[in-house]
Amino acid sequence: MQEMEAVIGLEIHVEMNTETKIFCGCRTAFGAETNTQVCPICLGLPGHKPVLNQKAVEWHAKAALALNCEIAPYVQFDRKNYFYADLPKGYQISQFFYPMGINGHVDIEVNGETRRIRIRQIHLEEDTGKLLHMGNITASPSSLVDFNRAGVPLLEIVTQPDVRNAEEARLFLQKLRTIIQYTGVSDCKMEEGSMRCDANVSVRPKGSDILGQKTELKNMNSFRAVTRGIDYEIPRQIDLVLDGEEVIPQTRHWDEAKGVTRAMRTKYLATDYRCFPDPNVPPFKNDPAWVEEIRQSLPELPDARYARLVKEDGLPPYDAEVITASKAMADFYDQTVALVKEPKTVSNWLMGEVGRCLNTAGKEIQETALTPKHLAELLGLVKKGVITGKIAKDVMDEMFRSGQDPETIVKEKGLVQIADQSELDPVIDRVIQANPKVVEDFHAGKDRALGFLVGQVMKETRGKANPQMLNELLRRKLQG
């Protein structure tokens, strides 16, 4: 049987974090009351005149440079004409003929090998409004439109068809998201729609240069949906081809609930967008000095940071990868290491206890009350033996909740480690007396018996006993 491979190109839309929309002064805040962030320009009222947001252009350049693109010297906005209820003007303003970012790439690690996914272009355009259906789109007798989102600056990132499977798509998207988050241009939240991904999927005999008929997958609203959607679509197409049937070029919606892709009705979808230069928006030229300025303003990007953490801080690659996956986490790491100078300890804590707290709370590190200074102080308390590692975990929980500094917490809750033999002796004696059977077991050579007794002492001291001292004293008493 002929071996088949998939050819996948991705189109990613990323909403920018600008204060205002791309062509008007309306705010872009997420979750505002419907139709309260609209004006004649973004509603497309007669006589409106768009004026380009400078920040959107700067950030466009920033994102493009971070994704290794060239910045075109001349950029023009064009109109892409089609009708839809969420599109106020009957056209979308986009960079069709002269996009600003071209020929970029992102490298991903797949099974220990580096794969380069080329980026054909990154252009700037305006987002559409949002349709709210009563029930679902098919059954709803009418729909409501909220234009708050219309005109939010949107980056469209178009890859070359370099992706081969769902896993590569996921890795690429995660890397892309990390890079863009690093630049601060977008928060890239798929669940809030500030990052969206469509995939053009086709299949062909492995090794062939010919591209098969492609379908465009839409409505994949999470990383998981992207992988599931592609994982569904590839075998669907392969089965068709192997059965001698044709893949119909069409737009297919990912149905998350049913786990299938489904063809959209195509009758009224525009096939010819009649793009032409938008006479309302003057084009612009990019000064090389300005481009250089933007390049200089870029932060250290994930790949460089990863390399530094491995090389200079001596972190294991896995740690470096986890830490650098989020700029906020990596910044937190750097700031903590600057205070305690023990990279591996900091990394252990961030990936261990801090990670656990974050998971439980469902938050990103920048959304919590935790600060690098407090974490550094906590690690200092452990190092100095003021508290035990076990207690430190409880203190961490409290720091997370309240944002209080660890010393106050330790003091107020009386969590200081007991490393004073005179304090521990009576407790140990009590435990030995109360558990004759276990003591017997110990003498019979059962190691677990010692552990049980340690546990009992810890329980009585509420975890504050210095573990080393306790072990030593207990052993001495039992053997003595």
Binding site: P40, P46, G47, K49, F83, G90, V145
Partner: protein, 469 residues
């Protein structure tokens, strides 16, 4: 009071308190109501607001405050210029009940200057037409002869100035829409340099070609209005200058289709200019004949896209329909008149993948050639002089041939393609009907344009004639 309704004169009367703004506005409103049955120059009249605004100006004069030259002056705005709180229809059923939530920048500037809006002028639907017959609100007549068209698309803007219903009106000009009616109605019409008057708030069809411009009885009024509309320099400073030595070119291509009566009036104007010491010389703009094709294609293509916001969702007419797609089609078919729909379809075709290069792109290339023609001509000349329109105003009963009618604007269109300033000045009569000539200057050459027009006006004195009705 309105026999001589030049802005400068009325300003003097207001300033010297010989008349009050309220008296002036009252007189104008009376004249409007008397003439409307014949002219139909207004879609909306705003008497209450106008009288209130006039009283504000009077109060200011009574306090002894200095007033600007447009304070208390009655103004009409073409009905594609958005006025907050005042219906703005574009002459279309589509916007029959549309009240914009914001005002055009040009209107804001006029208001700031104390000008008093008395109404919104009739127009060809969405400024597509050269006759002013193409309005959902009925045709406008030519005040010199009601059986003739006033020109278009700002036909009513020109007619209401000629008929002294207002002293100033603001029209829009994408392919001659200010200058053609100015010529047909015997008033001064200026299309300034592209972008000089902001078009924010102009519900336009073809943004790359569109301009706002004033229509007035005389050149002085034009200069006064231009200063306010551009928030710029004092253009009256250019008036009364000696034009000796001014180099004026006459492009021969602009005379080829000219009617003999137009030609002879044009020739006499050339003699006057020569008499004033200007150096008048023949020249050639070889791509003139191709300009209309470029204009027709670009304007239709842009209109197709620019009017796509009329979809019945956020404003304007909406037709009853079972689903969204049907709602779009029915809304737009009911809301737009046949001429406009035909142009939109032509524009849709010109931009479609199959025709893009041959039509839209070639039109843009012709545009380049037209611009180059002007660049070359202005390396030798300060101004160019042409008839504004090839013929006197046609009879209203004529004009069934659309292409022919649209070619009435053929002398006006090149200036829109190139964005250069152009002014139409009335120079005399063909029978009882006015004829205009057009002066063209390089970009931002409004000063030269006005100074030559003023010099000629001193000899012609057309504003002394009163329109028949």
């Amino acid at each position: 009071m309105l026999n001589d309704a030049r802005i400068g004169r009325l300003h003097e009367l207001l300033e010297s308190r010989q008349i009050s703004a309220e008296e002036l506005i009252t007189a104008v409103l009376e004249r409007i109501s008397t003439l409307e049955t014949t002219l139909n120059a207004f879609i909306t009249i705003t008497p209450e607001q106008a009288l209130a605004d006039a009283q504000t100006v009077d109060a200011s004069i009574a306090r002894g405050e200095a007033i600007g030259p447009l304070a208390g002056i009655p103004v009409a705005l073409k009905d594609n210029i958005c006025t907050e709180g005042v219906r703005t229809t574009c002459g279309s059923r589509m916007l029959e009940h549309y009240v914009p939530p914001f005002s055009a920048v040009a209107y804001e500037r006029l208001r700031q200057a104390g000008a008093v809006l008395v109404g919104k002028s009739n127009m060809d639907e969405f400024a597509t037409g050269t006759t002013n017959k193409n309005s959902f609100f009925g045709a406008t007549a030519n005040p010199w002869s009601p059986d003739h068209i006033p020109g278009g698309s700002s036909g009513a803007s020109a007619a209401s100035v000629a008929a002294r219903q207002v002293c100033l009106s603001i029209g829009s000009d994408a392919g001659g829409s200010v200058r053609v009616p100015a010529a047909h109605c015997g008033v001064v019409g200026l299309k300034p340099t592209y972008g000089l008057i902001p078009t924010d708030g102009l519900a336009e069809c073809a943004p790359s070609l569109e301009h706002l411009g004033p229509l007035t009885l005389d050149v002085t009024g034009c200069a006064l209005a231009l200063q306010v509309l551009t928030a710029g320099e004092d253009y009256t400073a250019y008036l009364g200058r000696d034009i000796r030595g001014l180099r004026i070119g006459i492009p021969q291509e602009y005379l080829e289709q000219a009617d003999p009566q137009v030609r002879s009036l044009f020739d006499s104007a050339v003699q006057m200019l020569t008499g004033l010491g200007a150096e008048v010389e023949e020249t050639s703009l070889p791509h003139t004949q191709s300009a209309p094709a470029s204009y027709f294609t670009i304007s239709a293509a842009e209109a197709f896209s620019n009017l796509s916001n009329f979809d019945g969702v956020r404003f304007g007419h909406r037709a009853e329909a079972r689903h969204l797609h049907e709602m779009y089609r029915k809304t737009r078919t009911e809301g737009f008149g046949p001429d406009l729909r035909r142009r939109l379809i032509f524009g849709t075709l010109a931009l479609s993948a199959d025709h893009y290069e041959e039509y839209y792109l070639n039109a843009q290339k012709i545009r380049t050639l037209v611009c180059r023609d002007f660049d070359q001509a202005f390396s030798k000349f300060d101004l160019l002089l042409t008839p504004t329109v090839p013929t006197p105003p046609p009879a209203a009963s004529l004009g069934q041939d659309e292409l022919e009618m649209r070619l009435q604007g053929r002398y006006a269109m090149p200036a829109n393609l190139a964005g250069i300033p152009a002014l139409s000045l009335p120079i005399g009569f063909a029978g009882e009907l006015p004829v205009g000539l057009q002066l063209l200057a390089p970009s931002l050459g409004e000063g030269t344009l006005l100074s030559a027009a003023y010099a000629l006006e001193q000899l012609v004195g057309f504003y002394r004639h009163a329109s028949k009705i």
